[in-house]
Symmetry: C2
């Protein structure tokens, strides 16, 4: 399972980055490989100042060793060794009409100090953060999410869509980070699913990522936009940074377990803007977005 | 004590904002008064897009009521009422040669549910965050800090300077937010100082703020700068935002106790920039700053 998923995310990193390079038409991913002193390491691939993508990062990592103190408390377990691997990506487009996207797929194993497996699970998801709301784009993204879930269980889409809305909630702003997608965690062998079933599920989700996102990029990347659209994008990017720095468990976890800060922070927007108490004009496109973020809706049935 | 300090911060807010308006020469502070549903409220004064100050905010607040759950854990006390008041300010100048400054002075009282005072203390400080290091400016700022401390106790400057360096430590970057100043907390009636002594101390610190900062602003505000100096300023402003959102107790506290987000976030920079793994050129002015931030030094003896 460990090796199968490790291979999978390695190949997925390559296929996603080559597709993104094609769509961008100009930028090439820069590659940084890094080692974790306590065991394992990762590969960070990043574009800055592309044609389409102002910043786009795809990380893979596979780390192992003794479970750090902070993670012991988090998982409520002591004296364990662990293995964790995953892929995470965030793409920040230049054009404010193209949404930002985030995805992450990860696998975790816990062992007794003698090396016996105690627990194993998958987690992850994908979610979309538009600056201007095109309902067709939101429906398309959620439709791809639902279709891939439906193959594995009719209850999964609603469950993981709801989890996504509640996880990416910027509580101090009383609004969602974006329009959601899927979020799942602790997918374990239980009830009617074993780890192989979840492996098939999560790899299907990974394989559907480009189908969910690229059609939207291609549709919107040549839209006209004004400097005030860009300012709005930067104000919203600041909310993105707020969520990641204040609330996101993965980010804080990485920082507190001595992760590689620059790899963790590929998720942060290239630029951000904090204006005091900025309130969009009534009935503006900006206000329409906020309304949806304040109370998430169903995009597909 | 409560009323004396409340009056003091009200007057200080007015005197600081009028001095800042004079130095800016163009902007006028916008005033927002707000109420806290659970008791008390505050006054936020803010400038955006001034001549000298791109964003400058001065908050005062006085809140009271039952100690919220999150604060009970923090102060290790139950069944208490509280009163808290303070002034906090952050000035983000436009010119990268002018440093950002932060200051905060606060007073806290805890009562039994019957209204008897259980505890009371002062806290606060002031600290400077340059984008380019002018040693004379750093020395001047620290000299003012030291002079005001020395009047009240020869040991105070070193103690509060060291606390400032350790508090404003951006641990995930292994660097300080800025070049420090003073930081103190839980100044209680004990040993050779009573609350009146600390009141005289903290009001002396408050009164010295403009002397510590304005001469630096006046000296640097007309310096030439390039667009690459601005980009460096924005990269450093992102570190400022990281500190405030990830580490700053006051910010997280405010967000978690349902404070007014827009007033808390006047501290955040007007713009910020996250470039991947940006490393300044050897022997550049940018690198010189980083070296000082990585290992804080003594500025005055």
């Amino acid at each position: 399972m460990k090796n199968a998923f490790l291979n999978y995310i390695g190949e997925l990193q390559n296929s996603i980055t080559s597709s993104i390079e094609k769509v961008d038409g100009s930028a090439k991913f820069k590659v940084d490989e890094w080692k974790r002193p306590e065991g394992g390491g990762g590969k960070t691939k990043i574009i800055e100042n592309g044609n389409v993508f102002e910043k786009a990062g795809v990380n893979t990592s596979a780390v192992h060793g003794q479970l750090p103190k902070s993670m012991q408390d988090y998982f409520k377990t002591k004296n364990s060794n662990f293995f964790a691997c995953g892929l995470s990506l965030v793409f920040h487009p230049k054009n404010p009409m193209v949404p930002t996207v985030h995805a992450n797929w990860r696998y975790f194993e816990l062992y007794s100090l003698k090396g016996k497996i105690k627990d194993q699970w998958f987690g992850g998801g994908l979610d979309l953060t538009p600056y201007y709301l095109f309902k067709d784009d939101a429906k398309h993204f959620h439709k791809v999410c639902k279709d891939v879930c439906d193959v594995h269980g009719k209850e999964l889409y609603k469950k993981f869509k709801d989890k996504c809305d509640s996880y990416f909630w910027n509580s101090h702003r009383k609004e969602a980070r974006g329009i959601g997608g899927l979020f799942f965690d602790y997918l374990r062998s239980e009830n009617n699913k074993n780890m192989e079933d979840w492996f098939l599920f999560i790899t299907d989700v990974g394989d559907s990522f480009l189908n969910a996102y690229l059609p939207i990029v291609n549709l919107r990347k040549n839209h006209n936009y004004s400097s005030s659209n860009r300012i709005w994008q930067e104000i919203r990017r600041a909310r993105y940074a707020e969520f990641n720095l204040v609330h996101d468990k993965g980010t804080l976890f990485g920082l507190k377990t001595n992760g590689r800060t620059e790899s963790i922070f590929i998720s942060l927007p290239p630029t951000a803007r904090w204006k005091y108490n900025y309130i969009p004009k009534q009935n503006s496109e900006e206000e329409k977005l906020i309304k949806i973020l304040k109370s998430p809706i169903e995009w597909v049935k």
